[in-house]
Symmetry: C2
Subunit: 438 residues, 2 copies
């Protein structure tokens, strides 16, 4: 006799592994309504305590993936590779990375998210570009990837709807911080893109979802193992998120900085993050044998302007104004600049990414709640990164606001994110802390 | 700043104790709708894994208790004492116990439940009495207790409504088997009766909710500790439920057997269970100094017919036909008797209470689902209890059905509940396994 759904819930509660068929049945029953929200939340809490093994996590990933539509990219030739970041402050990498990797011959179909809490989102940054649309029908998405090399859209209702519902439930039932559930949520959305390979940027540090390196490594390991078991080529990098990535925080501000990278500029850590992730994507995509070779291709794509051209074409295909790439001042950054100055001279020991990210939310650049809107123009520019020497009164950061009065409370908050010591420290920690995967 | 409800959920998930105020807030928010079913079920699952300490269990009990009305029995003089059984097969003790204890001068206000699954319920047995009503307004309930000495009603909507909702949720979220939740559920209902003392009959064995003695003892210990902390006099007995209690199973059939006890008859184990629990109640009620003295009072109440007279008065006060006490054949037992015979001679080693209870459900004497109706007339009479010597062909049990055809499948099932061995065993295990409490 088939077990009842409550019996399956009790099975997981008692620490026994569920079969792939049982997990598929639970997810399907949830979507059909015969397994209620209050039963799913009890199951999620049981999973929080009992965990899921790799086979169960693969099964949950696939059940959520197949609750919706898998994008058909068979019309796009080549090995399709995407990147996913677990989120941080100032993380505008996708905007420069995808065009550069595409310019090197690896198609990058990318489904991105919006900012929530202190972490920003790629869609919000793209929407700082006048006219840019992130809602694109899936047939058109495939066309743009085939023609331009990359396309960046939001999660449609067709993509992993079970993940969308389960994620919303986790958010209000204290079951977010659970590695197998995080892994299944990330991979179900990414696998729905019809990709062949995936590079994961697992952020670790103060401004990351995983503040602790052990937990971040555990997440990266499970992502690589489960993604590989699900038949994809998967690599993960553990990258630093103690301080904001690059200098720019805020939407238009970050898009400008990503464009700087395409033109050969940009802060060193942002460039390094882009090259490190891009090289892995190009190797997975079969366009280079080693990451060293891949880095040379990326450097060439920057030097020749190929990445910038791909970004222009993508913006054009998605309804935006492509002139922002050659004329970044077309991206409206709020006109009033308030400077946060160093109270004493010395060396910047740290810049608290979480504090900066939360300040950006208060300014309106981010969201406290998922249904809030963002102001694309406001932002923060970090002028003194960890390791920098500053004199008393030097600029630590500039705040971009509509009126000086808006910055009063924020300035103090941002100043508090900087720790200045009289002696030089170890300098900034290396951006890539660790690499996991084949 | 006050913590959000999700933060309180996370606090319990992480193993920290919730304060009484926090537990009260969660239960109140649940009843008001700002803490949803899916959040309560996640909390219940977190409690399943993390437990509740005694202070938390008291707080949950009181929060559920105060979600409704506490019956006002201040008009009833004396120390009011009730009994609660964790449920079993053939457990008709309440029906003879309450009148006997009341006859000894201790008022017994009793709120009982219905049968579910293999265990029977007092209300169903009482409703086998023509005209008997278990829905009585609380003012009238107090009047009957004051005048007659006892009254037996069902849980009204006013009594611990939070327990009612939470219990329904536990039932479908695999969070029933959790000692602190069981304790809070039992005590919130019992404390709502306005009692001063409580004797708990924690059943242990095959036909009990707790099959394992260690778990049953743990439940009894927590019930006594938490009930005492909540300001009540509490004693618990661990009693045997490997075999059905007494001989009769089924509603009218059991009510007849309970009346036998009031008249000085009845099977030895049922009489012993009644006297053991009754003696504890009388001591808690202050009408005897020792259980030995209390047993003498109970024996007198049987011999003089005082218990039978109280039961008659109670039935009369609750709209039933009191003549059933002197003329038990007025209780309609189904007319066709099918005898289950011993396939071989020997000694009855065991009678599986669970198997008998499940057979009774199939016959219609019990409920598979809470919304099912029961047939008061059908039942089973066990003729050979554990330890009895039987010859091949002797009656093991009699099945009371409306037509012989109804008994065909059941007879085999009931026969399978008996284990007959060629050698005599240890005899029946002692009914009271252990006593806990002051």
């Amino acid at each position: 006799m088939e077990r009842s759904l409550v019996e399956l819930l009790a099975k997981k509660r008692d620490g026994d592994a569920l079969s792939a068929a049982e997990i598929a049945r639970l997810v399907q029953s949830y979507m059909e309504g015969s397994f209620a929200d209050y039963q799913m939340s009890a199951l999620l809490m049981a999973i929080f305590f009992r965990g899921l093994d790799d086979a169960e996590t693969v099964a949950l990933t696939e059940a959520m993936l197949h609750s919706g539509r898998v994008l058909d990219l068979s019309s796009v030739p080549g090995t399709k590779v995407d990147k996913h970041s677990t989120g941080g402050v100032g993380d505008k990498v996708s905007l420069c990375l995808a065009p550069l990797v595409a310019a090197c011959g690896v198609p990058v179909p990318m489904v991105s998210g919006r900012g929530l809490g202190h972490t920003g989102g790629t869609l919000d940054k793209l929407e700082a570009i006048p006219g840019f649309r992130t809602e694109i029908a899936s047939e058109r998405f495939a066309e743009i990837v085939a023609k331009v090399g990359t396309c960046m859209i939001g999660q449609t209702r067709e993509i992993a709807p079970a993940d969308k519902r389960i994620y919303a439930l986790r958010d209000v039932t204290a079951t977010v911080e659970c590695i197998p559930l995080i892994v299944a949520s990330i991979l179900s959305k990414k696998l729905a893109e019809g990709i062949d390979g995936l590079v994961l940027d697992v952020k670790v540090g103060r401004g990351a979802f995983m503040k602790d390196e052990t937990r971040a490594r555990a997440l990266a390991e499970v992502l690589v193992r489960v993604g590989t078991r699900a038949g994809k080529k998967v690599v993960a990098l553990l990258t630093d998120m103690d301080a904001p990535l690059g200098c720019a925080v805020g939407n238009a501000n970050e898009t400008r900085e990503a464009i700087d990278v395409l033109h050969g500029g940009g802060p060193a850590d942002l460039v390094e993050c882009t090259l490190a992730l891009g090289a892995e994507m190009i190797v997975l995509g079969g366009k280079a044998a080693t990451t060293a070779d891949a880095r040379r291709l990326l450097a060439q794509a920057i030097a020749r302007g190929d990445g910038a051209r791909v970004f222009e074409k993508m913006i054009d295909a998605q309804g935006g104004d492509p002139r922002v790439v050659s004329e970044p001042t077309r991206l409206t950054v709020a006109p009033v600049e308030v400077v946060v100055r160093a109270p004493v001279g010395g060396f910047v020991a740290s810049v608290d990414a979480l504090a900066i990210g939360l300040a950006a939310v208060v300014m309106g650049a981010g969201r406290a709640r998922a249904d809030a809107t963002v102001d694309h123009a406001v932002g923060i520019s970090v002028c003194a990164k960890p390791g920098a020497e500053v004199g008393a009164g030097d600029a630590l950061a500039r705040i971009h606001v509509h009126a000086a009065a808006d910055a009063a409370a924020i300035a103090e908050r941002i100043g508090g994110a900087f720790v200045i010591r009289p002696e030089p420290g170890h300098g900034p920690s290396p951006l890539v802390r660790e690499r996991l995967g084949a």
